[in-house]
Structures are given as structure tokens and as C-alpha cells.
Symmetry: D2
Subunit: 464 residues, 4 copies
């Protein structure tokens, strides 16, 4: 319908979001698109080949192409884009809505987020350090993170408990003289595979008997090379090892760090993870929109591939395929609006006041992405599930979005329970309408046709 | 999640839409909500009872409660809200986005749209007359329509052909001296049942042999009482007759009107229906969001009804029900954003430049509404399918949204085909990325691990 | 794929069911098909026109065409087909599987079930009387029911409580001398609208304080003309009144019947409703398969209608439509197998031993029907939702299948909970496999690659 | 509902299938279950560890545990179970329905199918050789295959064309004196990675200019070590390499074999692949039912895992989880019936006469499996996507079922088109019903209420 097909990123901003994007952000957005499409996506191929073949090689590799990309990104000013302007002075000065548009493009490439120093879990960790860190902690860890010199991990999930409920976390943090002593095990420690990962933010229980179960936890900064730490193994995701980043299964055996390695004070662990997952809560969703767009691009390329004509016709000549294009476009555009609205809500206040909008984004967006990917995989057939397209790996990654940062069901229950709190107001409103209707009927000289009308919706309010 | 549960309409505007709503519009919006919830919804009960029981009575009735509501609405300034400020001087002066928020509330009630003179098909007909009508036509038909004194119908769909393709329309318009002579039949002539419906805008073929099949049609203004017109019967929708409005099946037998009853000139029928369905294209979708909200209200009322506890517990104590609350909230909020974004796109330019956004709204919104309604019906059980709740009738009405104004599949094919036009650009982009990747691999001294890599996506570009 | 398109009903029996159908049943099945397609379906049109237009007329009508059909059916031997041979001597002597195949065809027509005296709720009521009735009760009520001279209703659901849990039922049954006195209200009393409905089987509480909440209920036979009974109104289903059958909302005010009008003894109400819904539990599902086949027939007729070519091509030339044909065929054939398997399970034992299979049929079949209907409605557009096709009414009826005889969610919870009982056996099995795997690893001189392997699935068994 | 939870395989046979299972088959079925659950599933762990870590190791490995399992299976008589008794004397003598029940259990384990010499693609290849092979070919290849001494591959799919349409196949087969010369490339050559894979059945074009495009192809037996063959690389499936079996991408460069290596005669390639995919067409579907059952087992184990209680409660205490148990049970049981009905249809005639039933199985079953797997993965969270459960790999494998043996869409189009052929009969039937209804109306002295009734469904018959 749009006659101009070759629009730039800034020209494709949804109408309702465009007014909130400054000229500087629009220019940066176009630069991000160009950088991702022309530099990062080709570099992805190199990146995967610069990893070795054995597990040992893959988790000690640091693909040189990535450092070259980082240098380019810095030169282009595409650095630390994620730190929102109204909360952090260290970032590039964009709003969450503006960054949301950029993150979409970063999501298309394996290397782009890290190239622009916008990769999880560093982003969240940098936010924590900038927000809660002491000056010494900032100098020691925040500065090199902001410069992209080191990487970090956030260790929360544990293998032996249901970590979707963070109060279940068991890693023991015990004070012993001038030191914290950590014992326990963590898994899904994402990023811990990278040899450049120098610091872990470790969540554990320092006060397991505190009557307030949200005050039992603390977060400790632990250098990755501290004695007593063992990376037992790396976890795969649908067969992919995500090297060199990786997802570690790690044990802590009498791991000791000085007392000043705590973030904030003992017992503030829950506050920190709440704060950590502020704007960052929707970074995954922002990028997932880009993953979906990339999947749709691949879908279009395949259904119009002149070499691949089953039964003599392009796949795009089949209405079923065009319908799938439309279904993907509808789902993706709705997903983007949901993400941008959540970003706007965060920009207006903070992540806390935008909990509903964030939950909606986390629930809805992964499905748009997975559905679009599944359609693309199906169109490619064998090429869709193997290494000849990035689709299967994108699917594997995207499937985890319903699991990480809280499973979909937990978001649904929280969102649903909060919505359900309206019930009393709704019942009163409906009852008032019924009473008013009865008055009106009398006024017009009528009686209810159905004398046993059961529109009353709740005994609780029926005495009105 | 929001602590304040009892928000007004203006306080519930999505974050990303709020800045586009003027203070005047916000106040009007709250007034609309109040008017609908406190006046119109109770009046709905009266309205249905003021209709008679036999078909004859039902289609000659004019429920007095409606005129009283109209008087109230006029006094409150809630009149002709739909005419967008940047195109019409006759309206209340709101943008499409602002009206979109208001129309949501109008959608909750049977009587509200008409009470505010914002009911289809008058809205579209008024737009046509204001845009294309002669002065004489405006005085004769537009003025009383704007004042709510008469109603109108738009006669396009025909029973014998596939009207989803408007070029199939067959009603014959022949010039005979100083008159147009119409012969043929129409159905789904919505509004034709109302005794106050005084004028039909009739689409037909005046030049059936024109080589340009989009120039064969004309639109003629036909007074409803012109000899030769027969309303054969009224069509039901899932058993509902939608009286007194109704959906007529009408035949034209040598129906004669003067030459000046044509809108624009002969052959401009297609231009008119395109123009007619400008902003109005998403009025149904706007109201459907309100229908969904009303369904969710009813759902909440039911699952918290103290009198209805199967197996000893409120339905809301079941996770399955709370999950459905969340699913509805997610779908509705996404639907609203899609509608408002389309409205904004129309506000920025015109309906033509917003075709993609409009199509997305028309495809996505009805599903959000139908899903929410289906959940509510299921929660109510028997009360959900019968006359004791408005849910079944809302479902019947909403189900038609995938049919009227073009079936869902047509929108999907148009949207999909337009999206598919991007394929060449996408193929070139992917191919350029492949070429660049090969250059990079060489630069870093690597060869492709997979020498027979098949990432090339199109023979069309594979000679690069 | 089958070259022979014009197969008879007995030729279309699924391969896996065919061996269980006797020659006599196969012949009867073909006769049923012929009777339904050639007699009943045309008679449906007459039936609807022989009903009047006002509510009063519609619920006092007894369309003559129905009695003519009944006479024909009796002559053809198509009478009381539903009573399974291994339980009742009064019936036609077929197995439930055989009747299941026949009932599919009955389901296609409004009039066919009643024409063959196989209509709900009489079927269940006849089963109750045959199984539990005294000789006097049988002579008085069973005989005329078996002969099709009267009709009956089963009054269970109540408007003020959540009747999906039958223990909530409140209608009071009190003994007073030689009489039972009934007070309370019932709704969804299906069949109560028919002037030929002469007896109600009324479920109520005769012993509300019994500590066993399944012993509080009794079932009383109440002649429909007993003083104190008021039919307040008839309930609609999506706008359809289902006249003359109808769904009554009835109050009982000091309704008195002799003591011998009780079925079995006081307190056996629950046993009776369990027994009543024996084979009859899947009659709805059996017929719903036929409803789906009819919808698919209509779909095929429409997409190949030469008069209705949007954009110049038959709808059947669009892959999307052919895909929907396939989706419907897949869903319907799976649904039929599920129904027949449940019937076979009942034939093998009784309804109690087939609870799982029955639940699966009740959950799965209505969706196959609703999906197929929705596709057909969409293909017809306006004709699909109005009176010109039977589709919208079929949709309305079929939608209630997820509500009547217990809502879908209750069946899912029961089925799921029973399936979940396997968990301990499963956990033990998986744990045994882990232990055996460890033994094998040692045998082959290996250690687990993942020393912290977490395949152990339950702490409950991890001490093995 | 079933009180006995610990049923054996033969006790769990669906009621409608049980009578077709001989005592010998029932005993074998229980033996298969025991062998799979107690021997094969524990052996899977060993199998994966006996593979090496590097690509080179993995595709030269032959895990000793597999040979031990094979020896056990032979001793138990669980060997070549797949060859149906009515077509092959070489097999174990079971019907397809009986084997279908057994294959379900084989599907649960990585090693079981091969352990019982029932693994694809050998099964299909053995069928081809038994059916079409010369005596010499049988002795050379069929005998060692039947004994499990060698393995084989079927090379059809090609990377450069849309192989879902087999007429697109391009590998050139040219006669040169006493030899066939093969040139071209193949991929998804499953099994070609295994060092024991000794023979390829290669489909190619020997007569590319034949006017009958189904006579252009031949199948040639090519020893795997023939000069000119290069395995370029192995393809992954969602990151899994499926070693040592694997999926090869292979090129043929002037590969020469004697003339007697052709199967049947030149031009019979299409006949062979049709015949090859006889009963074998639903082997994947049979096993997929077992995959789904295994997924449900894992789901039950997880939601009742005492160690994993988010928010203090077992997952199984949440209605949402129990609902998912029910949804899985419903989908799996329907899938099994569909598979067994297709098997029965094949047993009754041959695969050709069962095309509809086979297509339905291929379309429906994978979805039941994928849905159940997705639910299980979600319940496990991180453990569901990584190597600690078999779920993610099962998902990857199962996802290919919509692609291999023809994509889902092709089956849907074929099934839909064949079903659509009924349209004329249906239209005539509906028209005859309309005519009969009009006669009946007249007979009863009525006219159609709707004089413009549009129930006529086709212009083809509208002249009546």
C-alpha cells in the first residue's frame, strides 16, 4: 500500500510514535539500521567462524571481528545507547522509546548489541552499578563495562529450586569477619562463558531467617577469578551453545570476597533486582521485534526465490503464503506498538508505574516473533531448520523469552490478578446500571419483559 | 498493578497516545464515558423494550428513549463527534485519534452512537455529502442528517454476486431523459428498516461497458419513498433482527430520480466509496475495542460473583480464569494501540496514506473482541448465550466485522501483497550481506565452513 | 483421493470402525442417511414455517410436518435407535458405536432426531425410566415416550446458583404427608416449551442436611400441568428461541405430587443423573460430527458457486480456501474417531468405565464443529450469518456444547486430574531409567558428561 | 478416571483398536514397551556419551551400546517388526495397526528403532528392495539390511530446487556404455553420516526430456564408497547434528555404477517412491505419538516435582497446568486414533487406497506432539530447553515432521483438493433439498416466508 518500499528506519516509525523521536534520535536510528544491516549482519558470519569447533575453543574465543565492530560503533557514536537520558548521565541520551526503536535493529544481528555495548546482561548490570554502586565499585567495574573492556554476568537462577519465584533462591551468603563467604550453585549464568567476563553479580541469601522473605537476599560483586568458583558446564539451548557468551552452571564453594563487595546493604537484594529490571525489562521485547522483522524478510526472500518453485509457481503466488505475510505484518506491528507504549510509560514515570504495560509487552511480543519465525522456517523447509539460515537459532533464542525474566504464566497471573482487582467497581457499575434501567423503565411506563431478569451480577452488591 | 483502580477514561489513555489528546478532548472523553455508562447503557434496556414483538412493530418503532438521549447528548455537546477537525467544519472538531478514544465508549452501548449522532451508516453518508455533495444536496440531506432528524442508508452489497469485489455490483443505473432509472436488488442495506431512514445512497452500474472497470459505477441519492422500491424482508444476524435499524433486502424496479440526484458525476462511484470509507473505515474497530472492554467487565463481574461458586470457590480463584483475564487485557490493549495508530496515521495525512494501518486494525481488532466475548460467554454459561446478558448479541454483531467492509481475507491479501512488494529490496539486501560476509571472511583469512552454503536467496540476484 | 466421490454412509465408515457394524446396522445407517437427506432436511424448511411468528404462537405450535416424518420413520424402522442393545430391550437393538454413526446423520437436521424418537432430552429420560422406573411409572410415562406420543424435560439447572456443580442445586423437595412438595426455580429446562411436553423429571434437594452432599438430592416425576408450576419465560440462544422445544425458566410454588412419583428412593438423585448420562453423554457429540459435515458441505457448495466469484475466480481456486477444506476434514475425521472410540468403550463396559473417552469426546468434538462452522460462515459472508443458510443457528446451538452437560473446563479439570494421578508411577519410571543409565555408563566405562546432571525429576524419589 | 494407573501397553490400546490386535501382537507390544522403557531409554544416555565431541569423531562413531541392544532385541524377537504381514514374508508378521502400536514405544527412545531394526530410512529402503529388487540386489543389500549389519540412505532432496515437488529433482543419470553415470548434488541425505551406511538409493533424472514428467526419474543403487561421491558437510537441525546418523549434503561427480544397479527399470523412479512410502508413510506419525506420550510423562513428572514449588505450591496444584494435561491427553489420544485408523486402512487395502487417512495422520499428528512438547518445555523452563531433558531435541526432531515427506501445506492442498471434488454432488444434493422443500411447502399450503430466498447455492443448478 505504501508506494515507497525502500524506507529508512526513521521513515518507518509508527505514526503514533514519530512525534516522540527527536531529530538526533531519528538520525541515530538510521545510522543504527545502516550499521546493523551493512556491518553487523555480514560480520555475524565471520563471528560464528571465528569461534572454534570444540567446546574448549568456543568458550575461550574472542572473535576479533567483534572488537573491530566495537571500534566502528564507538566512532559512529553508537555506544551505550540503552541508558535512558532521564536516569543516567553516562549514556547516549535517548529516551526508552527512542532506544526501543534502535534496539529493534540491534536484535537482528548476533553481534550488533555487543558491538554497541548494549548487550545483556551487561546493560542491566551497568544500570545496577550506576544506580546503586559506591564510587569505588563504579570505578572498578562500571567504568570498564561502560567502555566495553570487560563483560559481566548476573547470577540468580539455581538448578535445584523453582527460580521463577526468586524467594526460593538458596545460595548462602555468610559473613565471616571481613569477608562474605558464598556457597551454592547457579545455572543459566548467561555470559559466564566469555573469557572477558570479569565480574559476577551474585544474588543469594544473607539472612535466610528474616521474617520478611523479601529482605533475606543480598547481591554481592564477585570477581570471576575468585578461588572456589567452578564453571561445571555450559548449557545448550535447543542444541546451540551460544558461545562464547554461553550459559554457565557454576558452583560456589567457600568463595570469599571483602565486605565492600556488597551492592547497597545486606537484605537489599530484592530491591536491586526490581531496580535492575527497570527499562531493561523490555530490552528483550524490543529486540524480539527486530528478530521478527528479520524472519519476515527471510520469508519474503524465500517465497519469491526464482530457483524454488514447487509445482511450477513461486510460493508467493499462493494465497496461503500471502496470508502468512499479512499475519506476520499484523502481529509484528501490534507487537512494536505494545513495546513502544511500554517504553513511553517508562519514560513518563519509571518501570514501577509501567508494570502493566511491561507485562503486556513480555507476554505478547515473543509470540509475534515465534509465529513469524515458524512461518519462515516452514517456508524454507530443510533450509529453515539447519545452519543455512539463521532461523532455527533465532527460534531457539526467542523460545526462551517465555521463560527468562519470569515465565509467561507468572506475568499472566500478575497481570490478571491486578486487572481482577477492578471487579468490585465493575460490579457496582453494572448494578447501578440495572437500578437506573429499572427507574427508566418505570419512567417510560414499562415493566421488564423478563420479570425474573438475572442481570444482577453479584449478591455482594445486590442489596443496593 | 496500577494502584488506582477507578480511573476515568482520560486517565486510562495509553501513554503513547496521551500527548495527542487536547484538554478539551480529554474533558469530552470523560463526559462521553459518563454519558454512556450512566445514561446510555441503562437506556439500552428501555430501548429494547420499546421495540414491539412482531416484525411489523419492530420495524416501525422509534423508541422514545432515544430521542431523549439525543437531546441530552446535544446539550452536553456530544454531537457529531466523528467528523475530524482537519477535514470538516461541521463536526465537533476532534482529531481521529481523539474520536477513536470516544468511539470506544460509544461502542459499549446499543444507543450511544445514535444518541451522539455518530452512528453508521449515517456517519459515512454525512462524510460523502459534506465532501462531494452539491449545495442543494447538502441542504436537502446533509443538514437534517447533521441535526439527527433523519437517517440514511448506503446500498452497495447485492445478493446475487460476490460483493466483496465491488466491481461485481450489478444494479443498473440508466439515464432516461431527465431521470436516472434504477433496476436491481440490494441486501444488507443496514438502517433501511428504520422508519426515519429517508434517503438511500445507491451504488450501481451506470456505464457497465466502460473498459476501466473502476469507472462503471455511480452513486445516486434515492429518497426512500420513491415508487418502485420494495423492502422484501429484513435479514437476521445470528437470530437477531437489529430492529429498528435492520438489514434490508430491497428491490428496485424502474425507480426514477432526477438527474441532479447523482453524487459527483457519472462513473465516480468507486472514488466515492473509497472516500466514504476514509476515517470511517476504522469506526467499527474503534467501537469494537469498547465492546471488548465491556465483555471483560462482564467477565470480571461473573468470576467474582459471590452467588456463583462451583465447587465452593469463586471462579476468580482459578488460575485458568485469571489467565483469561490477562489474555483479554493483552489482546484489548494491543488492539487499542493498533486502532489509535491508524487514527494517527489518518490524522497525519489521509485514509489513503494510512491503508496499511487501517488494514491491520480491521484484521486484528475483531479477534481481540471475539476472543474476549467468547471467554465471557463461557464464564456465564447459560446466561452468556441468552438474553440475560448482552454478550451473545455482542458476539453476533462483532462476528460480522470480519465480513462487512470487505472480508478479513481480502484485507489480508491486500496487506500481504503490498508487503510482498518489498521482496526485491529484501533479496538484494540479503545478497549484499552475503557478498559482504564473503569479503569479510577473506579479510580475516577465513573460508566459509560450509563451502556449499546456500544462503543465497534468489537466483534473480545470484549472478552478483 | 478416493476416486469414488458419491459414497453411501456405510461406505464412509472409518476403516477402524467398519468391522463393528453389523450388516443390519449398515443397511439402517444408509436408510438413516437417505431419510435425513431426502426427507428431513427438506422438511426443516417447512418445520420453521409452520411455527408462528409471535412468541405465543411459536410455543403452542406443533408443526404437522413432524408427525408425518415420525410416521415415515416408524414405517422405515428408524425408531428408538438410541437405546443400546446390551442394556435395553425396548430399543432398535444397535450398539452405541452403530448408533453413533446414525446419530451423526440425525445431527444434520432440525427435525430428524425427533422424527426417529431420538431427541434429547427424551432419550435420557427414557433411559432413566427404563433403568430405574417402577412398573407403574413405566406404563404411565415410558410407554408414551417410547411411542413418541408425549415429550418430557429434565429440570436440573437453576438460575441463582452455579449449576455446573450439581451439589449447588437448591430446589426444595419436602415430604408432606402423602405428597412431595416442590419449591424453587429452574431454567434451561429444554423442551419445556413444547405443548406436548407432559412430564418433568425434577432434580432437587430432599435432604439438604445430609452430611454426604451426594445423598441430598432426589428426582421427582412431575406432570407438566401440576398446579403451582409457572413457565415464566423462554430463554434465547444467540437470538434463537428454539421453538417449540424452547428453554424454559420455570418456578415451582408448592407443587404437590404423590409419594410414588419419586424415581428410585429419596437421596438417589446423584446416582440417577450419573446413570442418565450414560451413553447419552456422547449423543450431542455424535450429532455434532454431523453438524460439522453439513457445515463442510455448505462450505464446498459456496466456494464452488459459479455465481459468486470475487475478483473473477471461484473461491475454491484460492489455496487458502482449499487449506480450510483440509483443516475441516482433518478435524472432523479425528472428531468422529474420538466419538466412535468412546462409543466402543461404552459398548465394552459401561459409561463409567469409559469416563476418559467420554470426556475427550466432549472436549474435542465441539471445537471441530465450531471451527468448521466458522469457516463456512466466513465463506458465505452475509448469507452465513443470516437466515439464508442454517449456519448461524448451527453455530449458536453448537456453541452451547461447551456449556451444557458440564462446561468444558470441568471436563478438562476432571480429565487432567485423573491423568495427573499417574505422576508417581511416571516419576518412579524416569528415576529408574536414570539409575539404570548410571549403571550402564559405569558398565561401559563412562562417567556422565554433565556431573551435575539434573535429570532427577522429583525429590520424592531422589533418595533411591 | 481409570482406577488402574499402571497399565501395560496392551491394556492401554484404544477400545476401538483392541479387537484387531492378536494375542501374539499384544504380548510383543508389552515386550516392546518393557524393552524400550527398561533397556533403550537408559541406553540413550550411554549412546550420546559414546559419540565423540568433534564433528570428525561424531560421524565415525558406532556406539557399542547399540550393538548390545540389537543383540537383545533379536533375542527377544523384536526384529524387523515393521514389515507388514500381508505384504512381506521377511518381517515379524504383524499388521500395520499392530506395528503402529509398537512403533509408538519405539518413538520414545533415540536407540529403540535402530535396536529393533525398524529405523528410517532403512525401513523404506528394505521395503523397496523386497518389493522391487532383483534377486542379486536382494542378496547384496536387502539381506545385510534385514540382519542389521549395514545401513542405507535414500537420496532424493536437492539443495538447489524446491524438492517438495519431486519433479524438480535434477541429479543427472546418464547411461554410458555398461554404466550409469551420476552427476548432481543431494542434501538431507539422512543416515549418510553413519560409517555403517553402505548403500545409497539415489533418485535422479535419467530421461529429463520425457514428455511425461513422472517418467523422467530412476532410482539407482550406489555403494557409498563409489569414487566421485563427496559428503561435503552435515546439516544440523536446530543445532543438533543427529550424529552418527546425520543429514548429509553430498555431491556426485561422474559417479559410475554398473547398469544392473538400477531398481526396476529406467523411468520407474516415481513409482518406486510412491511404493516406498507405503505403510512407511505413517511410521513417523506412529513414533510421534510416542514422543508426545514421553513429553506428557515429563510434564507430569515436573509439575509434581516436590523440589520445584514456585510460590509455595506444586505446579500441579494450578488449574492452568491441569488444563494443559487434559489438552495434551485429548490431542494425543485423537492423534493415536487417527494413526491407527490410517494403519487399518492400509491393512485393508494398500497405501494408495488409504491416501486420505495417511494425509490426515501426517497433518494432525505432529501438531499434537509439538503442542505437548511445547507445554512440557515451558513447565521445565531452563531445563526444558537445555540438555538436562530430552525435550528440546524432541521438539527439533518433531518440528521437521511438517517438512519431511512433503510439507504440511502440500498434504493439505492434496487432501483439500480431493475433498473439494465432492462439490458437484453436494451442490446437487442441496439443490434437490431446496426443490423438495418447495414441494413440501406447497403440499402444506405454505409459501416461503422469504420470497427471495437465496439458499440456491450454485448457478450451475439455478436454472431449475
Amino acid at each position: 500500500m505504501a508506494p515507497a518500499l525502500n524506507l529508512t528506519a526513521s521513515q518507518r516509525i509508527p505514526a503514533i510514535a514519530r512525534p516522540f523521536v527527536s531529530d538526533r534520535a531519528a538520525k541515530t536510528l538510521d545510522l543504527v539500521e545502516k550499521f546493523v544491516e551493512e556491518e553487523c549482519l555480514p560480520a555475524d558470519t565471520v563471528f560464528f567462524q571465528q569461534l572454534g569447533q570444540t567446546a574448549g575453543e568456543r568458550f575461550s574465543a574472542h572473535p576479533p571481528v567483534l572488537e573491530d565492530l566495537k571500534a566502528k560503533a564507538k566512532k559512529l557514536g553508537l555506544w551505550n545507547l540503552f541508558l535512558p537520558r532521564n536516569h543516567f548521565k553516562e549514556g547516549a541520551g535517548f529516551s526508552n522509546l527512542e532506544y526501543g526503536l534502535m534496539a529493534e535493529y540491534l536484535g537482528k544481528s548476533q553481534t550488533a548489541s555487543e558491538a554497541c555495548n548494549c548487550a545483556a546482561p551487561d546493560t542491566g548490570n551497568m544500570e545496577v552499578l550506576a544506580k546503586y554502586g559506591t564510587e569505588a565499585q563504579k570505578r572498578k567495574w562500571l567504568d570498564p563495562l561502560l567502555e566495553g573492556k570487560i563483560r559481566s554476568a548476573f547470577l540468580m537462577t539455581e538448578p535445584e529450586v523453582a527460580s521463577s519465584d526468586a524467594t526460593n533462591i538458596q545460595l548462602n551468603i555468610r559473613r565471616d569477619g571481613n569477608e562474605w563467604v558464598l556457597n551454592g550453585s547457579k545455572w543459566w549464568s548467561s555470559g559466564a562463558g566469555d573469557p572477558r567476563c570479569k565480574v559476577y553479580l551474585v544474588m543469594g541469601k544473607s539472612d535466610p531467617n528474616n521474617s520478611n522473605k523479601y529482605k533475606q537476599q543480598s547481591v554481592i560483586l564477585v570477581p570471576a577469578d575468585t578461588p572456589g568458583i567452578t564453571i561445571n558446564r555450559m548449557l545448550s539451548v535447543f542444541g546451540y551453545d551460544d558461545a562464547p557468551h554461553g550459559h554457565g552452571h557454576i558452583t560456589f564453594k567457600n568463595v570469599r570476597v571483602p565486605l565492600d563487595h556488597i551492592v547497597l546493604q545486606p537484605g537489599s537484594g530484592f530491591d536491586i533486582i526490581q531496580g535492575r529490571l527497570g527499562p531493561g525489562r523490555i530490552h528483550h521485547a524490543m529486540r524480539a521485534v527486530g528478530v521478527a522483522e528479520k524472519a519476515l524478510d527471510y520469508f519474503l526472500a524465500r517465497i519469491n526465490d526464482e530457483r524454488k518453485k514447487p509445482f511450477g509457481a513461486l510460493l508467493s503466488s499462493h494465497g496461503v503464503m500471502i496470508q502468512r505475510v499479512a499475519e506476520s505484518r499484523v502481529e509484528i506491528d501490534a507487537a512494536r506498538l505494545v513495546v513502544l507504549n511500554a517504553a513511553m510509560a517508562i519514560d513518563n514515570g519509571d518501570a514501577k508505574s509501567a508494570l502493566k504495560e511491561i507485562a503486556i509487552a513480555k507476554i505478547l511480543v515473543p509470540d509475534a516473533t515465534l509465529h513469524t519465525l515458524d512461518r519462515a522456517i516452514q517456508a524454507y523447509g530443510g533450509a529453515g531448520v539447519c545452519q543455512d539460515t539463521p532461523l532455527a537459532k533465532m527460534y531457539a533464542n526467542s523460545r526462551t523469552l517465555h521463560i527468562v525474566d519470569g515465565p509467561k504464566e507468572v506475568h499472566q497471573q500478575q497481570l490478571g490478578k491486578n486487572e481482577n482487582k477492578r471487579f468490585k467497581i465493575v460490579q457496582q457499575k453494572l448494578e447501578a446500571q440495572r437500578v437506573k434501567a429499572d427507574q427508566l423503565l418505570r419512567k417510560y411506563g414499562l415493566e421488564r419483559v423478563d420479570p425474573l431478569y438475572l442481570g444482577r451480577v453479584s449478591a455482594g452488591t445486590s442489596k443496593l
